[in-house]
Symmetry: C2
Subunit: 433 residues, 2 copies
């Protein structure tokens, strides 16, 4: 099934001076690229042109000769510099005619905004090239437009990301599937992402590649594995091309099951990839709360935990213990220990974690103290040195890290490592109990 010929190719044309001048980063093109590849319609080329009729015309015309599906985004607004629809109608020798569905949606849009009538300037938003199929825009005034352009299908979408995404997710696939469905289906790409943190890409790859060689072919065949590293961790993306979703899920299950012992303590589960989700779920599951005392991360750990809805169930609160006096007075670090060992030390990290939990009445604690830089480093405590302690079930554990990168990277990595340490200990504690 996956071997049945080449996938039908697509092309993207994004329109707008703001893209060429770099005032806007072309996130639409990347988003569409992922969607189309997933649908079995991989993007073969991408073009960006300004708000110039001749450039739009030439480029769309060129793209239509090269691929089976051309998606044009931008230039569908109601103002003078929105040229896409007119240029395309002209290129295809069709006139613009009022579409009833689009007109009703447009009226409803303005009624919802408290206006009785569609403003003069916006009425043209309901006009589309003759013979076009319309995809209603639930978030704006420019509908999506699907046209049969002979050799290829041509799709016009508004450039506002929210509107574009709503239209694509709303009904684009079924609108093009009469034509492309049979050919694309064998090339649909199924994905699963496995999240890891706390292990660098090369070490993860060394462990995995050896195992993959040893595994039977029926587990690994046809599954592509990509390593996607960033400052917070390494995601493993598994891909299978072709076949149905159920079959793909079954194969992903078997594959992951056969490597999961290697991923061990580094793996975590989070629907959106955020380790704070996994930590929050683990706290909630075990009915526990956490308090945080942060020096070098300066509020970032607490911020990560409170980014998520329902944080009040698991976070009691925290102290940003930046000055030594705050570490002593507000958390309860012992002055003598702080002076003897220094603020960046195992002893201070442990006391931050234990005392903040005790003082704020939380079941678990996190303490972070380190040198984020650029200043403040020394020979035995260079920039990037961070002590992280966690208190779970009355026991405190402390780990010394040495993170690379600038202040921002050290802070991000520190907060992630603090969450990872708490996560691991909560799971270990759960397994014991």
């Amino acid at each position: 099934m996956s071997g049945s010929g080449r996938a039908p190719a697509s092309a993207i044309v994004t329109v707008g001076n703001e893209l060429l001048y770099g005032e806007t980063v072309d996130t639409n093109a990347a988003w569409l690229g992922r969607i189309l590849a997933g649908w079995g319609l991989p993007v073969a080329k991408r073009y960006t042109v300004g708000d110039i009729a001749e450039d739009i015309r030439e480029t769309v015309s060129l793209a239509l000769k090269e691929v089976e599906l051309v998606v044009v985004t931008g230039g569908l607004g109601p103002t003078r510099d929105d040229l896409t629809k007119g240029v395309v109608a002209d290129l295809m020798g069709r006139s613009l005619v009022r579409n009833e569905d689009a007109w009703h949606a447009l009226q409803a849009h303005f009624r919802a905004a408290g206006e009785d009538e569609v403003p003069e300037l916006s009425r043209g938003q309901a006009d589309v090239p003759e013979g076009a199929r319309v995809l209603v825009n639930p978030r704006g005034t420019a509908p999506g437009i699907v046209l049969d352009a002979g050799e290829a299908l041509l799709v016009l979408l508004p450039g506002v990301p929210d509107e574009l995404e709503a239209i694509v997710e709303g009904g684009l696939l079924s609108a093009i599937d009469g034509r492309l469905g049979d050919r694309r289906r064998g090339h649909v790409v199924h994905h699963r992402v496995v999240h890891t943190t706390g292990i660098v890409e090369t070490h993860l790859a060394e462990r995995l590649e050896k195992r993959l060689e040893a595994l039977p072919d029926d587990i690994t065949d046809g599954i592509d594995l990509a390593y996607l590293p960033d400052v917070l961790g390494v995601d493993l993306r598994l891909s299978i091309r072709g076949g149905g979703p159920d079959e793909a899920e079954r194969r992903f299950d078997v594959f992951v099951e056969s490597i999961t012992d290697l991923l061990g303590e580094w793996q975590y589960e989070a629907s959106d990839g955020d380790l704070a989700e996994a930590v929050s779920a683990e706290l909630r599951r075990s009915g526990r709360t956490v308090a945080v005392a942060e020096s070098c991360t300066g509020g970032l750990v607490a911020k990560r935990l409170t980014d998520r809805a329902g944080a009040s169930e698991i976070l009691v609160g925290g102290v940003v213990a930046y000055a030594d006096a705050v570490k002593i007075g507000e958390v309860g670090v012992k002055q003598a220990d702080l002076q003897r060992e220094g603020a960046v030390s195992e002893t201070v990290a442990r006391q931050l974690s234990e005392r903040v939990a005790e003082r704020l009445g939380a079941d678990t604690g996190i303490g972070v103290t380190g040198v984020a830089g650029p200043g403040g480093g020394s020979l035995d405590k260079p920039v990037g040195t961070v002590w992280i302690a966690t208190t779970v079930g009355g026991e405190t554990e402390a780990v010394r890290h040495r993170f690379a990168g600038d202040r921002l990277a050290v802070r991000e990595a520190s907060a992630q490592a603090a969450l990872a340490q708490l996560y691991r200990r909560l799971r270990d504690d759960g397994a014991k109990g």
Copy 2:
């Protein structure tokens, strides 16, 4: 000067399957677009192709016919799927020859990484098409390459953003200026950005547009004004095309001077646009410190202030007072007031700000309490309701806000408004004293 003919046009070709599949957002293209427009070489078209020799060849060939400068990024690495250099050499009928500058830089790069020799696979990184000019890459192994391609100049740059930016900023302009300098200079675009926060785009525009109409032409002529809004505020970007930088700076000064009374309390100065920079500078200038008590922002205000180097000079610390018990026990909010008025109230915001400053021994204080959502809203305190208090010079001021958007947007807007309020009060206090 600015009217002397059309600006020489440029085109960008970005190479890489990861761009087409949307795994990487093409930030290079946007960054280059801004740089080239600023240099008077505006981008007329942009292309993205995969790691396929035929596609790279055809697209570069097409672009060279359309513009005076073609910049190709990506595909310069040492592995099999890096095709750009070979394809371009072939297209131009030149062979690849070892470049001595590039070779020395390559040797130095590996020596710095602790390797005695350049690895076999990487040696080709020092080979460039005959007759090319090389721009050394201070951060990686692929140098920039400038080629005279007859009608146009052709520039090859690595796709890693850090490396690309270092090469472009290092010497690209002088490498192309022998050819394009005379023609581009009249089209150089000078910019100045004026930052505002706390006023929405439409209100800012209403005030400004009326003033601009009333101003004499010699102040406004030839200055373009763009409004760049985001969740944190609205930037005003002024642009002048052509002329020298000193003349542009003088004209920007006059223009800004003539609108600055309208921008009043909303304007702030920060080299990188971050209001936390302005707040930190104002605290430092007046020799004062701050302490923060945060409920709904959960550490975000402290995080903003500690993102910046030298934060320990101005931030004593903070309390993430998420649970009511922490507001009472760790900050000193009165239990009776909290119960009577509720956690999201003027009284609690005031007490958070006053008491956290007092308790942590800071000169000024910030208190934030609100409903970030999605849950927790009520009829009289809907989601987005946030009370922000600041204490400066012993006096506390509290403001009620109602922010739109989701949890993330409410939190970001709240932290920004808290910083803005402190900034305004520090300046007012400085003006008084």
